[in-house]
């Protein structure tokens, strides 16, 4: 069973064994508006938790993407680069961004569960 976790910067990580899939939350895509550009790291890049791993741009503004976890990039969603609107249409499925090999198995516990995140996001919207 994969577990879904969220960061304070509105990225999600779906963690299954030592592999985490990473994207941005529904709340984040709604706040950003129409996504038109995404820049992702190269396979093999070593990411640090809370450090920038890419850039996402909507018609409104450019925003930084932060990795919720530390680890090495094993796969990127190449198709997403040409179909950035998938982040709006399907933030948790087709809109996934990268897969990483999780470095530290204790790190996910520092992230929020879905229910906690939803409350966090709702508060931030006000």
């Amino acid at each position: 069973m994969a577990t879904l976790k969220f960061s304070k910067t509105h990225e999600w990580a779906k963690i299954d064994a030592n592999i985490a899939v990473i994207g941005i939350s529904d709340h984040a895509q709604k706040a950003l508006g129409d996504i038109v550009f995404i820049e992702l790291p190269k396979i093999g890049a070593k990411l640090k938790a809370n450090a920038q791993f890419g850039t996402i741009e909507s018609t409104k503004a450019a925003s930084e993407l932060y990795s919720p976890l530390s680890g090495e990039v094993t796969e990127i969603n190449k198709e997403l680069l040409n179909n950035p609107q998938w982040v709006n249409e399907s933030p948790f499925e087709r809109g996934w961004m990268i897969k990483i090999k999780v470095e530290n198995s204790n790190e996910p516990s520092s992230l929020m569960d879905e229910a906690v995140y939803k409350e966090f996001a709702a508060k931030e919207a006000h």
């Binding site: 508006g33 129409d34 038109v36 550009f37 850039t55 741009e57 018609t59 409104k60 450019a62 680069l81 040409n82 709006n88």
Partner: protein
């Protein structure tokens, strides 16, 4: 400071608008999607709240002479019922604001100015009046009591016919009519900031929600989409229209902004000598990105590793499916078809210089 609200603010909230601070005004940046809204305006029609714009009346026997002295375009060629794009210039020939001047007849002119510049322009006009010898001159700021609704797109005319009668379709581009509608005085012009056919409606604040509701009601059948400032910006970039604070400001020479067509040689006006004596070193151009990337205001433009210009506006155009923008570029590199590099966050992206009227309309 609390944000200013237009009389349509509640309507925006009811329609789930994403409200932002736009030069001190609480206005919708989008209702659902900037891209959808910008597409709708080119295929059906979109309704914008532009009530933040400034409306300043200049009237009296000296009004025409006074305005002529401050602007490069020739207002004397307009007749009652015509509007004209023009500029207010400072002593150095820089642009105080760009505006539309409505010739209301009987020595009365309505100047529609940018929201961000309304107070600046109003105070500047009063100062200029004091400096001048013109006695018969009144300057009245009606921005606080006037609302502006803008209905834009190929289906706009059909919506207008249903509300204001079939005669409205005979109104020509850059013409306006003053009429009494439900016993209220309103102004309707055939104009806009999108490059599409469209209408702009000026009315008293108290009347604006009713006009809004009527347009919405009759617009439904024509595919009307409520449109925010985000779409307005995309559409004006697609049409190559300058925006104050981006393509033009107090330092801009109208000639380098490719606004030479507004600058009439035959008339005398403030800053004229300065404009004509200054060597034109840079030009406003359009550009199309060769790759996916939005080049935003302030990003440097290079050729062979040397900085030759700067982006003033950039966006993704949903109607062209291209990343486009406007920029100032050194004249030597400004020819259409030239390739340049734009620096976006430490990377360089290729772009091609183009004409800035991207959609190829009026």
């Amino acid at each position: 400071m609390e944000l200013l609200k237009t009389p349509l603010y509640e309507k925006h909230v009811d329609n789930n608008a994403h409200i932002v601070d736009f030069s001190g005004w609480a206005l919708p940046v989008e209702y659902s999607s900037i891209l959808k809204e910008a597409k709708a305006v080119r295929s059906t029609c979109g309704l914008f709240d532009a009530s933040h714009m400034g409306e300043i009346y200049v009237k009296g026997k000296d009004a025409l002479t006074f305005l002529q002295s401050l602007t490069p375009n020739d207002i004397s060629i307009t007749k009652k019922g015509q509007l004209q794009y023009n500029l207010f210039l400072n002593d150095k020939g820089g642009i105080v604001d760009d505006l539309m001047i409505y010739n209301l007849g009987e020595n009365n002119f309505l100047c529609v100015v940018n929201a961000s510049n309304t107070d600046k322009v109003y105070n500047w006009l009063k100062t200029k009046k004091q400096e001048s010898k013109y006695a018969n001159l009144e300057i009245i700021n009606e921005s606080g009591s006037t609302s502006l609704l803008s209905l834009q797109g190929p289906r706009a005319v059909f919506v207008m016919e249903k509300i204001f009668g079939a005669g409205i379709k005979n109104l020509k581009y850059m013409r306006f009519t003053e009429l009494s509608f439900k016993n209220k005085q309103i102004i309707i012009s055939r104009s806009g900031y999108t490059g599409e056919d469209g209408f702009e409606i000026y009315c008293n604040n108290a009347f604006a929600p009713l006009v809004w509701d009527l347009i919405l009601k009759y617009g439904k059948e024509e595919g009307l989409v409520l449109s925010g400032l985000g779409a307005r910006d995309v559409l004006r970039i697609e049409a190559g229209y300058p925006l104050y604070g981006h393509e033009i400001n107090d330092e801009t020479n109208p000639l380098e902004a490719s606004l030479g067509w507004v600058t009439k040689i035959k008339k005398d006006f403030i800053g004229k000598e300065k404009i004509n004596n200054k060597r034109i070193m840079r030009k406003r151009v359009g550009f199309v990105m060769e790759e996916r990337a939005i080049a935003r205001q302030g990003y440097p433009i290079l050729a062979s590793g040397k900085i030759i210009g700067e982006v003033t506006s950039g966006t993704y155009s949903p109607n062209l499916n291209q990343f486009i923008g406007m920029a100032y570029i050194e004249s030597a590199f400004s020819a259409v078809g030239h390739f340049v590099d734009i620096k976006i966050r430490d990377k360089f992206y290729k772009a091609k210089i183009t004409n800035f009227n991207f959609i190829g309309k009026k």
